[in-house]
Amino acid sequence: MNKKEQLYELVEEYQNIFDEQPINLHDLDDDSTFIDDIISLVQNSIKSKIKITDDMLKSVFEDTPTNSIL
């Protein structure tokens, strides 16, 4: 299983717990240097049963302007 599949399975697990998908993943490449950070973020969130917040995401992703079409 590659990192992308690992992340997708984790996000599915997250969805089952919190009934929402918190992260914009659509253009995240398999070889992105951020994929490990995101995997770790989702893993920790599932483990601690704490929802991923905007602030947590900001620590990984940079912001885009409001109303941007991603």
Binding site: E12, L25, H26, D29, F61, T64, S68, L70
Partner: protein, 642 residues
């Protein structure tokens, strides 16, 4: 080629901006001149009278000189009109500019200049009177300076306080920007300036009238010239054209794209509405700073045979252009990327690109920042990763798909014939009205994907139906199947291969080779338990984690992440609702993302394991979301015939 309306909007904005700058220079020049004249001597009434010619000269050198330059650019409006009329079926003799036309153009320009002169004379009096009265009452010099600054630039006058000047600079730097952050800076700074001068805001300042004249003058010139040329060609009806923005008057909103005779328009314009500036439709339109304009338009042109003739002409032009470049007009930034991402062969997807204008701005985003498209306020800004690998190609195609969705929508939005054709399958006509009216940022979004809202819901219902049961069925099948597999690895491979052959039956969306390809395997590869698990999930229309991330995004955007995912729930929630069916809601973000993913797949830009897997994923899109995928296919067919 820019339309007449685009030329008008661009020039009107640029003229306002230039006049605004000139008024700052004028303010400084006047104050410097007064300081020089009163250096060491008291301001007397005689001196005040002597200063008047100086003030007049400064206004002429600054404001009227720029006004004259601005008016010389009205020829662009004439060109825009001529480009428009050449696309209509009026006789050829009316498609040329004649000597009397040039005479009229000069007269109209002179008339426009008199508007600038009126403002100049009015404020020359105001400023000269301020100087004279200051001399009579012995007003302190700094107070007179502040009053004159206010008379020229209102709250945007220069100040002794550096902080205030910084705010004025912020306003000027960001006033005409498309960037939302700049807009916010502009609004904040303006608000502070208004509160700073709240006690003495001058409603009557030169800046207010001069910038309004700069805007309205070009629009009036256009209205009068259009009316004259329309009459000359024997056209008695006119179409009210332009776009809707958040501040569009209700009157303009109501009559936008309406075609009426001159008499009917004159009758309509006898009514009253907020912001009305006069009753002549061709001069006043919706009122002060109205961005709408008329074009001569004969309803008979909508007749089918005439449309065919027009189309024939357009096709001729298109074919000529295609030979030169299948992508049409492109920016320098796009020139090399487009063939790299979309190939060199002409098809309906490249045709769509050839129909839209060249991209205004391409920017590269850093790692960790999402790619995005920003179209608001006509920004047309594409923010992408450098196209250095397959993943970046997919992202570029996805973002470019957003651009196609947006720009084609803008292109066809006032063409009822094309809209009727595109919306052939739309049952709820409110959706068509939403598309025509526009939504989101100042009603600017007129994406063609809006029309597919019902199809998104149709497919969503299928995909989420009995979802938990299907997930359980897949799990049960998986555990039951692996429990029956041999512990011997070779036997296990063979068993899995046999199970896969059974799963890939006539109802399976892919052939065995296609399935193996998307799994990164060849015909000789060993079949693993994960492979048969994936095949079984596909059979149940679930989304295995090994499928392409943009396929996940496509299905995630159809189902609002109930099946598949890519964009976050909060991303979808931030957009406006487009369509409701009971409890089921389609948000604009879902229209956007479904189309972008459709476009990326259908332009051959899904890659896995170093190969294009678009053919396979197009089949999967048709399998998972058949109604929506077919609908988009249909839109592209209609667009390819434009």
């Amino acid at each position: 080629m820019a339309t007449k309306q685009e030329i008008l909007s661009k020039l009107a904005a640029s003229h306002e901006q230039r006049i605004s700058k000139v008024l700052f220079d004028l303010e400084e020049d006047i104050i410097n001149s007064l300081q020089e004249a009163t250096n060491g001597i008291p301001l007397t009434t005689d001196l005040a009278i002597q200063l008047r010619p100086n003030l007049k000269r400064l206004i002429e050198q600054n404001y009227l000189k720029e006004g004259s330059k601005i008016i010389s650019e009205y020829d662009e409006v004439v060109k825009g009109y001529m480009d428009y009329i050449r696309t209509t079926p009026v006789p050829d003799r009316f498609k040329l500019l004649t000597q009397p036309d040039l005479k009229l153009i000069n007269q109209l320009k002179q008339l426009s200049f008199s508007g600038f002169e009126n403002v100049a004379n009015r404020f020359l009096d105001t400023i000269a009177n301020e100087v004279y009265q200051s001399a009579i009452v012995g007003k302190p010099f700094p107070e007179m300076v502040q009053n004159i600054r206010g008379a020229v630039n209102g709250v945007y006058r220069r100040s002794n306080e550096a902080a205030i000047n910084r705010l004025v600079d912020i306003v000027e730097e960001n006033r005409y920007s498309d960037d939302p952050i700049s807009k916010k800076k502009f609004e904040d700074a303006r608000k502070i300036l208004h509160s700073k001068y709240a006690s003495d805001i001058r409603g009557e300042n030169m800046r207010k009238y001069a910038s309004q004249i700069a805007h309205d003058s070009i629009m009036q010139f256009d209205g009068q010239f259009t009316k004259y040329k329309g009459e000359e060609a024997g056209i008695t009806s006119f179409k009210y054209t332009g776009t809707n923005i958040i501040t569009t008057r209700e009157f303009c909103r109501t009559y936008l794209n309406e075609v009426r005779t001159e008499e009917e328009w004159r009758d309509i314009f006898t009514g009253n509405w907020k912001g009305k500036s006069g009753s002549d439709p061709f001069i006043n339109r919706g009122g002060y700073r109205c961005r709408h304009s008329f074009v001569p338009y004969d309803p008979a042109w909508d007749a089918e045979d005439v449309q065919k003739e027009i189309k024939k002409e357009e096709i001729k032009i298109d074919r000529k252009r295609k030979k030169e470049n299948i992508f049409g007009d492109v920016s320098n930034d796009e020139k090399d990327i487009l063939p790299n991402v979309f190939g060199k062969d002409e098809n309906k997807y490249t045709k769509a690109i050839s129909l839209i204008p060249a991209l205004k701005q391409l920017r590269y985003v850093s790692e960790g920042k999402s790619a995005y498209y920003f179209p608001w306020n006509n920004a047309d800004q594409l923010n992408v990763k450098k196209v250095v690998n397959d993943g970046a190609k997919t992202t570029f195609a996805h973002e470019y798909g957003h651009r196609i969705d947006d720009q084609i929508g803008r292109l066809v939005n006032d063409n009822d014939k094309v809209i009727n054709e595109l919306s052939k399958n739309v049952k709820d006509k409110n959706i068509v009205n939403t598309f025509k009216k526009g939504i989101v940022y100042k009603n600017e979004a007129k994406n063609i994907s809006i029309l597919a809202s019902e199809k998104i819901l149709e497919d969503r219902k299928i995909l989420v139906k009995a979802l938990d049961e299907r997930k359980k069925q897949a799990n049960d099948w998986y555990f039951s199947t692996i429990s029956k597999l041999s512990n011997n690895i070779d036997k296990r491979y063979k068993q899995c291969a046999k199970i896969l052959d059974e799963l890939i039956d006539k109802d399976f969306p892919l052939t065995k080779n296609e399935f193996l390809k998307i799994m990164g395997k060849s015909a000789n590869s060993n079949i693993l338990v994960d492979d048969i698990k994936t095949a079984y999930q596909i059979k149940l229309k679930l989304m295995p984690s090994s499928l392409h991330r943009y396929m996940h995004d496509y299905i995630g955007s159809v189902t609002r992440n109930k099946v598949g995912f890519g964009h976050s729930d909060s991303y979808y929630k931030k957009w406006e609702t487009i369509f409701k069916d009971g409890k089921d809601v389609v948000k604009f973000g879902e229209n956007l993302e479904t189309f972008a993913n459709y476009y990326a797949a259908h332009t051959g830009n899904f890659y896995e394991f170093g190969k294009s897997v678009s053919v396979e994923y197009v089949k999967l899109m048709n399998y998972y979301a058949p109604n929506l995928t077919r609908e988009y296919e249909y839109y592209m067919d209609v667009i390819s015939k434009l």
